[in-house]
């Protein structure tokens, strides 16, 4: 079964906000009307916040020695067209810090999926949240 449209990458969202492209398929947003004045797309700000949140979780995972988890977050950031951070090695996380961070992230991503104006973005964020839930269920940290 086809499961819907492809992810509207951040760049596509920005273009849509400028009225240059229309997001189609299951996306439930109205088609932008070409205009000389770009209108604000609430998903642009949402995606920026999610990327910042994922970067933080990536750092916490790296500090906790959870390299596979850090890779997951990097992959999710890239799916949102965000730039991953390759900063210096962070200080070691306290015991339980990674799990706590992942629990908060999982809930945050669900909230973001609920808030997304774009159905395709909501789907991607919900999928990311489910991926984190799988790691938590596996006994992370």
């Amino acid at each position: 079964m086809s499961v819907g449209p492809l992810l509207p990458r951040r760049t596509a969202i920005a273009l849509a906000a400028a009225g240059l492209v229309a997001v189609t398929g299951c996306d439930d947003r109205a088609t932008p009307t070409p205009s000389a004045t770009p209108t604000a797309d609430p998903d642009v700000a949402l995606v920026e916040k999610v990327i910042r949140r994922l970067r933080h979780a990536q750092h916490v995972a790296e500090a906790g020695g959870e390299s596979e988890l850090a890779v997951l977050h990097r992959t999710h950031i890239e799916a949102l067209d965000g730039t991953t951070s390759e900063g210096s090695s962070p200080a070691k996380s306290a015991p339980g810090a990674v799990r706590g961070e992942e629990q908060r992230l999982q809930e945050y991503l669900e909230g973001a999926a609920l808030a997304a104006a774009s159905g395709a973005l909501a789907r991607l964020l919900a999928s990311m949240s489910a991926a984190v839930a799988q790691r938590l269920a596996q006994g992370l940290g």
Binding site: A122, A130, A131, A137
Partner: protein
């Protein structure tokens, strides 16, 4: 596709899931493989509850909920616990894709319900020896 159409599609998937889990339960021994039996039984109950919820939702919208088929194709063979687990895992992955699709086509309370269903289904995959995925219910994202 409208929200109603998406709910109907999801209901059709749940009808199939309930049917297949009924078959899987019949191929699972409580005495020989109690953990698998419990997992299949729990999955059957979860999908039946979701099916019933979707029927109520659609009825509340004034729609006629899509009916289940008399029978569905069931994965074969199902002679070993591993084969039953594999069939259950494939079923959960299929349901995850359906719920992810429902997330995209709903808003507010129905989207919340779909998000919860996606998470629960993704976690249940692990019970049937699934491995964590990068994008549960959205495999195509991994290729981008």
């Amino acid at each position: 596709m409208s929200e109603t159409d998406a709910l109907q599609t999801t209901l059709a998937a749940e009808h199939a899931a309930v049917f297949v889990y009924g078959v899987l339960g019949g191929r699972t021994s409580r005495a020989a493989t109690p953990e698998l039996f419990d997992s299949v039984t729990a999955a059957y109950a979860a999908h039946r509850a979701r099916r019933d919820h979707l029927v109520r939702e659609l009825t509340g919208l004034g729609e006629d909920p899509v009916a289940g088929e008399a029978a569905y194709d069931v994965p074969q063979p199902l002679d070993t616990p591993a084969q039953v687990e594999r069939a259950a895992l494939d079923l959960e992955r299929s349901c995850a894709a359906t719920y992810a699709y429902l997330v995209a086509t709903t808003v507010e309370d129905r989207r919340r319900w779909a998000i919860d269903a996606l998470r629960e289904t993704a976690v249940r995959e692990l019970v049937f020896r699934g491995t964590p995925e990068t994008f549960p219910g959205g495999d195509e994202y991994a290729d981008r």
